[in-house]
Every structure is written in structure tokens, then in C-alpha cells.
């Protein structure tokens, strides 16, 4: 256990956040626990409004002013300049401190649209070196040579020439590479990627993901992906957290989630994706739309859309049932008293086929 403690880089405990809006209070995050160990990759999967982005914004200390944190802590461990491990509770620090000591420095973020994180009036070179000069306190010259190295590392040819370019002179894929280079420039311990490839074309998507995988392996950093794309998750994640209506509903390693999913929502997500083999005339769908958290549901938030819902689902929220060492799911179906219900046949057949393909 002690070894684990040392390696744990991010530990979100019982996070609970409400947003105060003119339409009413939105209970966006309802008790979320996320662990992340050094060098590993966690994917947070969910639909829009599930709270996946909000929880990571909280971890970055970037919450909007109308957010009220009801409870929880976000413990972040990093190695400071002296080489010692420091642990801080992000929620207890003020924005200014976080911006100075954590953001960009020990924790970096890659957003969906590269154009929003790049300054259109500044050259690429300036944007990469800026952070290094202020965070690492190195000279301009050194920062420049490191920036060129970084650009080479993220696969930009003619790095020296590109340093003088402005963002609009680059293609979408190139820009995202630059954003990754900026994120890496201060040797972060943790990289948070919020839908890093959704704005990019499919052919470039794969390359960007491969790039992030490569630098992660080389530098031993931890990565959190926020995404709704299960294809991306399958490619990059070690562990998967499935989020629905502000709660985690299934956690497991990537093989468990894809080959032995236990929660009906995860079944639905996997079945709804047409793979290239789908021959059925209809896609499987999850009916309805995600709940509006202004009106918080009494029992399981997913019950209304769940064709396997039990009576108790409407009364009480299911606890996390442990399936294996690494795999837990919040569904009453796993309760020993519940009827034995298995995943839909079509999904079963599909997983069977996927396993064969993988061999």
C-alpha cells in the first residue's frame, strides 16, 4: 500500500460540485473519486453534461466563479525543483497560487480546439519559450534551443522555420502538435487532454494519439483523457472511468471495460458504436437523453433510460459493486439479490468477434 501512496499522482476524493445558475442550482458532480498513478493513462468517458470536463477543470483549478464545492479534495503530487515530492490539495489553494506553481508547470492541458489555446498574434516560438522562461527560469537562448528540440519531438519538420510562424500559418494537425509541445515544455507530471482529437480529421487523429502515447512513454508522465470517443479510449487508455450524470458508474482497466462491461450504460455506449462489421439493420441505442441535473433524480440517474432497471433503481442510488481487483460498477444488477441479467446478445457476439480479431 505504501508503494502505491508514493506513486499516486492525482487523488480526487469524493468531489461534489454545484453550479449556481439563473435557472437554478445544478448539481454537476455528485461524489467522484479518481485515482491516477505515475506513468499511467486514465480515460474519463461520458456524454456532454456528464461532468467529465468539470471534474478536470476542478483539478486544474479552473472552475468558474459560480461553482460551489460542497465537499471533496483533490490531492496532487508533484516533484518540485529540489526533487522532493510535494502533495497539495488543489481545492484549498487560490487560483493565483495554482497558476504560478501548478498550471503549465506540473500540470498541463491540451484542449479540443488548438486555436483556442494558441495566441494568434504571437509566433509559435514565442509561445513555446514564454512558459519555459517564466516557469523554469532559463535563459532565452536555452529556451529557444529546447523549443526547437520539442518541436522536433512532436514531429514538426523544419522546426527552426516554424518557430517564426504564426498559428494561422499551420494546419490543424500541426497546431495541435504545437499545443502538445507547449504542454510538454515545462516537463509536466500530468497531462490532461480534453477531447484532443475531436476537432481533427480522422487521419490526423490517429497520428496525434500516437504522438501523445510516444511522449508519455519516453517521459513517464501521467495522462488523463476526457473523451466521448470509445475508439480513442481503446487506443490509449490503461484505465477507464465511465461517467454519467455527475457520478462514476463504472471503473476498470481498458480490457475489462471493453470485453467485460458490467453497467447497462456501458453496454449501451459500446453497442451504439457501429463497428465496421455491424450488419444489423438497426443500431442499438440508449433511449431518451441525459437527465437535467437541475432536477436531481432520486435513485439511479440512469434508471429512466435503462431497459434493465430494477424497482430499487428508482428509490436508491446503487453503491459501487466490486467485480475484480480493478473493476467496479454502480448498478443494482450486481447485487446478489438481483435477477441474473447479462449483457445483450448482440454485444456479446460483438465482443466475441473483437476478441477473435485481436488474436
Amino acid at each position: 500500500m505504501k508503494v502505491d501512496e508514493k506513486d499516486k499522482i492525482l487523488d480526487i476524493k469524493n468531489l461534489d460540485i454545484t453550479f449556481h445558475t439563473s435557472a437554478g442550482d445544478i448539481h454537476a458532480i455528485r461524489g467522484v473519486n479518481i485515482d491516477l498513478y505515475r506513468g499511467e493513462t486514465v480515460a474519463i468517458v461520458g456524454e456532454s453534461g456528464s461532468g467529465k470536463s468539470v471534474s478536470m477543470k476542478a483539478a486544474m483549478g479552473l472552475l468558474d466563479s459560480n461553482a460551489i464545492i460542497n465537499s471533496g479534495e483533490i490531492l496532487f503530487s508533484y516533484i518540485d525543483e529540489k526533487g522532493e515530492t510535494q502533495t497539495v490539495d488543489i481545492l484549498k489553494k487560490d487560483t493565483k497560487w495554482i497558476r504560478k506553481n501548478i498550471n503549465g508547470n506540473h500540470m498541463a492541458m491540451v484542449f479540443q480546439d488548438p486555436m483556442t489555446s494558441l495566441d494568434p498574434t504571437m509566433t509559435i516560438g514565442k509561445q513555446i519559450t514564454e512558459g519555459m522562461i517564466s516557469h523554469l527560469g532559463i535563459s532565452k537562448k536555452e529556451a529557444y534551443s529546447r523549443a526547437v528540440e520539442l518541436l522536433n519531438e512532436v514531429g514538426i519538420v523544419d522546426a527552426e522555420k516554424r518557430m517564426k510562424n504564426y498559428p494561422h500559418q499551420l494546419s490543424g494537425g500541426m497546431r495541435q502538435r504545437v499545443v502538445i509541445a507547449i504542454a510538454l515544455s515545462c516537463n509536466p507530471d500530468l497531462l490532461i487532454c480534453d477531447e484532443p482529437t475531436t476537432a481533427l480529421d480522422v487521419t490526423i487523429q490517429a497520428m496525434i494519439l500516437e504522438l501523445i502515447l510516444k511522449v508519455q512513454k519516453e517521459r513517464g508522465i501521467s495522462v488523463i483523457y476526457i473523451t466521448h470517443d470509445l475508439g480513442v479510449v481503446a487506443k490509449v487508455a490503461d484505465y477507464v472511468n465511465v461517467m454519467y450524470a455527475g457520478r462514476l458508474i463504472e471503473i476498470g482497466n481498458v480490457d475489462e471495460i471493453f470485453y467485460e462491461p458490467a453497467h447497462p450504460y456501458t453496454w449501451g455506449l459500446l453497442s451504439a458504436m457501429p463497428d465496421l462489421e455491424t450488419e444489423d439493420s438497426r443500431l442499438y441505442t440508449i433511449p431518451g437523453s441525459p437527465p437535467n441535473l437541475i432536477h436531481e433524480p432520486a435513485g439511479d440517474a440512469f434508471a429512466a433510460r435503462n431497459e434493465y432497471a430494477l424497482v430499487i433503481d428508482e428509490k436508491e442510488q446503487p453503491p459501487m459493486f466490486r467485480i475484480s481487483e480493478t473493476h467496479v460498477a454502480a448498478t443494482w444488477l450486481l447485487d446478489p439479490r438481483a435477477p441474473k441479467i447479462e449483457m445483450p446478445e448482440t454485444l456479446k457476439a460483438r465482443i466475441e468477434r473483437m476478441r477473435k480479431e485481436a488474436l
Partner: protein, 311 residues
């Protein structure tokens, strides 16, 4: 309804060019000589990356843009250039579009009922108010919304619901051709499947033709009868879905298919996408012609290139 390939095509696009003049020295050739046809009851998938001109083609066909060159025939009528009153009426009632962004495609100041009824109003397609309401209620039910949603405003709906309203607006006109322009790409995965199912159901029921524009190959494969692969304003490969996926010929098509992310971690970890770079590929889309591969499967290139690819 299955596609009827023996009939006259409902839409015929011949050598369509759509150029946008940016300034005196610079013209963007968004679409540069694209030809294809859609048969009655067929779903034709148009795939390409951003900037490939796929959305521009949709908009040129429905005459949101003035085509620079080429000929578009819809139901046997030439809809390029100046249209007669009658042609215009046919175009505006029988060809409909479903848009990409469910947030921007509905007028925030109009009720759902007004939005769906707009087409009926413009073309005076109902005898009285009650009849109109009946038509609206029927279509609302068909797309999975209830009749009392009529008086609500778009912002009171979720993204998936709004997209259903957009679909209702197009389908209430009983169109012969529906252009679905990236109509699922802004939706969540579980909602995408709902919308695709809905479109497919309605298509089977009404037998109308669809031009399904998307960048997501897996959805296109699932829904389309035939596919056209577009890159930089040129149609590179076209054929039935089976033909394209069983035997992709053009290197671009190959890279597109190889890049589709699959929900299979074991496989994904090992797989490396085939990259394709036009600048480095040595290809010139301005030179070449369509070559028959098999059946209805055509690929664009010079004789030598195609021979090389088919080896």
C-alpha cells in the same frame, strides 16, 4: 425501400465546380469537377475530411451557393443557373437539408411548431390551421417528440432533441431528396445512434433518397448504399459500400479506412494508421480520369497510378 438503380437518377451532378474568390489573386477551389448521381431510394454517403468540399457540394446542390461551373439535374430539371418559377418551387419543396449544428440550425426566437411549419407556410401547403397542426403533430411523433412540445423554444431541448426538430422540419415537406450535412457529428455517441436509426427508419418508410455527408466512415458505412470519397474538392473513389470497404484502391481511401478508431483495445494498441499526405504522395488530382475497378466501383487517377494501385 431499396434503391432502384434502373430508374432515372433523381439527382445528377456533372462536373460541379464551386470556386470562391477570396481576393484578386486568390481563389479557393472548394469543389473542382465532381460528378455523381443518386438514384431513387438510395442513400449516398459522401466522405471526406474538413476542407474536402463535401459540405460545399451539399450547399451547391440545394443552391445556397451559385455553382461556378457544371450541371446539376434534379428530377429531370436543370437546377443550375436561372431557374423557372416551377423549377424553383420543386427545388424548394422536394429537396431538403438537415444541418450540422443543432444549436445553430433552429431559430432561437421561434417555437418548435413555427420552425417545423415554416416550409408549409411558405408554400401554402395546408388547407387550414387545424390541418397544419395535425401535420406537425404527426411529424413530431414520428421523430420521437410529443405534440405538446410545439409551443416550446429550441433552447429548452437537448442537442439530440433539437436535431430531431431539424429532421422534422425537413421531412414534413415529404422531400424526394434529403441532404444530411454532418447531421450527427455534433451529437453524443448514444444520441448519434438514435438519429441514424431514425433517419434509416424514415428512409425505409418513405423511400426518399438521401445524400449523407459525413467524416465518420463507420457511420457512413453503416447507413449508405453507395459511397463517394472526396479529398481537396476531387472525387477520388466511388462505389457501393461493400466494394469500397472490401477493396479500397486509392491510397487516400486506404488511409481513411485504416484511421477509423475501433472499440477494441487489443487491436488498437497494435494498429498503426496508414498516413497519407497529398503533398508528398506525388499525386496530382488535376490529372487523370475515372477508372472502372469492378461493378460500380470507380477510382480516379492516371492509367499508370491505377495500374499500380490495383496490383
Amino acid at each position: 425501400m431499396a434503391a432502384n438503380y434502373n430508374a432515372e437518377p433523381i439527382l445528377k451532378v456533372e462536373n460541379l465546380k464551386q470556386h470562391f474568390k477570396v481576393n484578386r489573386n486568390f481563389t479557393v477551389k472548394a469543389v473542382d469537377g465532381v460528378s455523381f448521381e443518386i438514384y431513387p431510394g438510395e442513400i449516398y454517403g459522401l466522405v471526406g475530411e474538413s476542407g474536402s468540399g463535401k459540405s460545399t457540394i451539399g450547399r451547391s446542390i440545394i443552391r445556397l451557393y451559385e455553382p461556378t461551373d457544371g450541371k446539376i439535374t434534379f428530377k429531370g430539371m436543370d437546377i443550375t443557373g436561372k431557374m423557372s418559377r416551377e423549377t424553383k418551387e420543386t427545388l424548394r419543396t422536394k429537396m431538403m437539408m438537415i444541418f450540422q449544428d443543432p444549436m445553430a440550425s433552429l431559430n432561437p426566437r421561434k417555437t418548435i411548431g413555427d420552425i417545423i411549419g415554416e416550409g408549409l407556410d411558405i408554400h401554402h401547403m395546408y388547407p387550414n390551421k387545424i390541418e397544419k397542426q395535425v401535420m406537425i403533430n404527426r411529424i413530431l411523433q414520428k421523430v420521437g417528440l410529443s405534440a405538446d412540445h410545439c409551443n416550446r423554444y429550441p433552447h429548452q431541448f437537448s442537442g439530440g432533441q433539437r436535431q430531431r426538430v431539424g429532421i422534422a422540419r425537413a421531412l414534413i415537406m415529404n422531400p424526394d431528396l434529403v441532404i444530411a450535412d454532418e447531421c450527427i457529428s455534433a451529437l453524443d455517441v448514444s444520441i448519434q445512434a438514435q438519429v441514424v436509426n431514425l433517419l434509416k427508419d424514415i428512409q425505409e418508410e418513405t423511400g426518399s433518397s438521401y445524400l449523407f455527408i459525413a467524416h465518420d466512415l463507420s457511420m457512413v458505412k453503416y447507413i449508405s448504399d453507395r459511397i463517394g470519397v472526396l479529398h481537396l474538392g476531387h472525387m477520388l473513389e466511388t462505389g457501393t459500400t461493400e466494394e469500397i470497404f472490401a477493396r479500397p484502391v486509392h491510397p487516400y481511401t486506404k488511409s481513411l479506412i485504416s484511421a477509423i478508431p475501433l472499440p477494441n483495445p487489443e487491436l488498437e494498441r497494435k494498429r498503426v494508421a496508414v498516413s497519407y499526405d497529398y503533398a508528398k504522395s506525388g499525386l496530382d488530382y488535376n490529372v487523370g480520369s475515372n477508372h472502372l475497378v469492378e461493378g460500380t466501383h470507380y477510382v480516379f487517377g492516371t492509367d499508370e497510378q491505377v495500374a499500380e494501385w490495383l496490383k
